[in-house]
Amino acid sequence: MSWVTKTLNSTLGQKLLMALTGFFLILFLVVHLAGNLQLLIPDNGESFNLYAHNMAINNFIRSVSIINFGLILLHVVYSVILTKHNKKARPVGYAETDASTNSTWASRNMGILGTLILIFLLVHLRGFWYRLKFGSPDKVLLGDTEVDNAFIIVVEAFKNPIYVGFYVISMVFLAFHLSHGFASAFQTLGINHKKYTPLIQKVGLGFAILIPTLFAMIPIVMYIQSL
């Protein structure tokens, strides 16, 4: 396997792993959002609880979620390796730089944006995932099966304006991360073509605006409903 490790340990190989895991995370965002949007269905959380229950008992989904955790970890580990390597490549910095004229702010701050997203992910997992898995969540009857009342945990969490604010701001960071990351991952994979690159960039920008906005909308709406 030496050629595999050699390739994946090169700067290009490490970026390839960043791009592939990034793509997977993009896909995960879409699936996650589809689930979250069920919170807004006005049926007292029935759809959402059913969805959460099905996620928890389906073995395929559970394997995917373990892979998902693994890939987030890989994305984070390689972001640390790459960012450190890149810092080391310029031990003495410039007294004066004028970077805003040659590149976007997001592209220059992927490490900071990623770290802020990571902090959000940890708080987010502690608040929802951990409580469902290891806490003792309330039960609710769905037809004749008793399931965890995931809905009520979310309702309670989004009564807190500080948590809602934190959530919304984190989605702004995600938006900036994606505004560069989406198109950048294509370039890393070697996909750059006169016909498609302008489209990829537009779709990337649209994705970076739309997905985080929809995510952020949910806590805002639920907070207003709780008033």
């Binding site: 030496s2 050629w3 050699k6 390739t7 090169s10 700067t11 290009l12 190989g13 490490q14 970026k15 390839l16 790459l82 390597h85 890149n86 080391k88 490549a89 310029r90 031990p91 003495v92 910095g93 410039y94 007294a95 004066e96 730089t97 004028d98 970077a99 004229t101 040659n102 590149s103 976007t104 592209s107 220059r108 992927m110 560069h180 198109a183 950048s184 370039q187 890393t188 994979l189 070697g190 996909i191 750059n192 073509h193 690159t197």
Partner: protein, 249 residues
């Protein structure tokens, strides 16, 4: 015009170095940036001081020898080489900060002179065609589509100045290496060794201590020869393809 120059002075590679301020007077707007530094150096020599060391050779924008990070940008405010930058790009009374290109792989030799030998070693590792291509062939004997010829020629205009490395937040050499890989892999004579070339040149690039690519695009935006980012994508393709298909286990 009269200017204040903040110039990086450093005796040798091991010296810590620091900025020194100089005033230059009666500079013509038609002078090139290097001619302005010549004026400064003549004054310094007259005073018996050590002149400011900087790299240059052709002074017509084709050799890639001149460097300098001027007011926060490699080769200064316009997208050209420092030797082709003219003083009309600056205002009377302005302060100009002049630093060497900064990268671990480009150590400072003295003042503003950096050692860009890392680029030479990358070329030596595979940036050539090793088969004898014979004498000049008849026109159109080797059919090459015009689009490919143009693309290869565009990549071949890279003069190896290192501004891409200087501009990149990661001090990455991807634009340079991708231009060299593209130029050869697009043409029939270079295709023969394209896989080994990609593997060897990228291994050498990493060995020299250049950073990775975050795809910020700063390199291409500052490149005096407007080398395109699509070359980096091509290099990635060449490298990944080579890695899975060569006989080198």
């Amino acid at each position: 015009m009269n200017l204040t120059l903040k110039v990086w002075r450093q005796k040798n590679a091991s010296d810590k170095g620091g900025f020194r301020e100089y005033k230059v007077k009666d500079i013509s707007a038609d002078m090139s940036f290097l001619e302005m530094l010549d004026v400064l150096n003549e004054e310094l020599l007259e005073k018996g001081e050590d002149p400011v060391h900087f790299d240059h050779d052709c002074r017509e924008g084709i050799c890639g020898m001149c460097s300098l990070h001027i007011n926060g940008k490699p080769h200064g405010p316009s997208q050209t080489t420092t030797c082709q930058l003219h003083m009309r790009s600056f205002k009377d009374g302005q302060t100009i900060t002049i630093e060497p290109f900064r990268a671990k792989a480009f150590p400072v030799v003295k003042d503003l002179v950096v050692d860009r030998g890392a680029f030479d070693r990358i070329i030596q590792s595979g940036g050539y065609v090793s088969v004898n291509t014979g004498g000049v062939p008849d026109a159109n004997e080797i059919p090459i589509p015009k689009v490919l010829a143009d693309e290869a020629f565009d990549a071949a205009t890279c003069i190896g100045c290192g501004a891409c490395v200087a501009a990149c937040k990661n001090a990455s050499a991807m634009l340079f290496v991708s231009a060299k890989i593209s130029q050869l892999s697009l043409l029939p004579q270079g295709r023969v060794e394209r896989k080994e070339r990609a593997e060897k040149m990228i291994a050498q690039m990493d060995k020299e201590g250049f950073g990775a690519c975050t795809n910020t695009g700063a390199c291409s935006a500052e490149c005096p020869k407007e080398i395109k980012l699509s070359n980096i994508a091509r290099m990635n393709r060449e490298y990944f393809k080579a890695s899975v298909t060569t006989e080198n286990v």
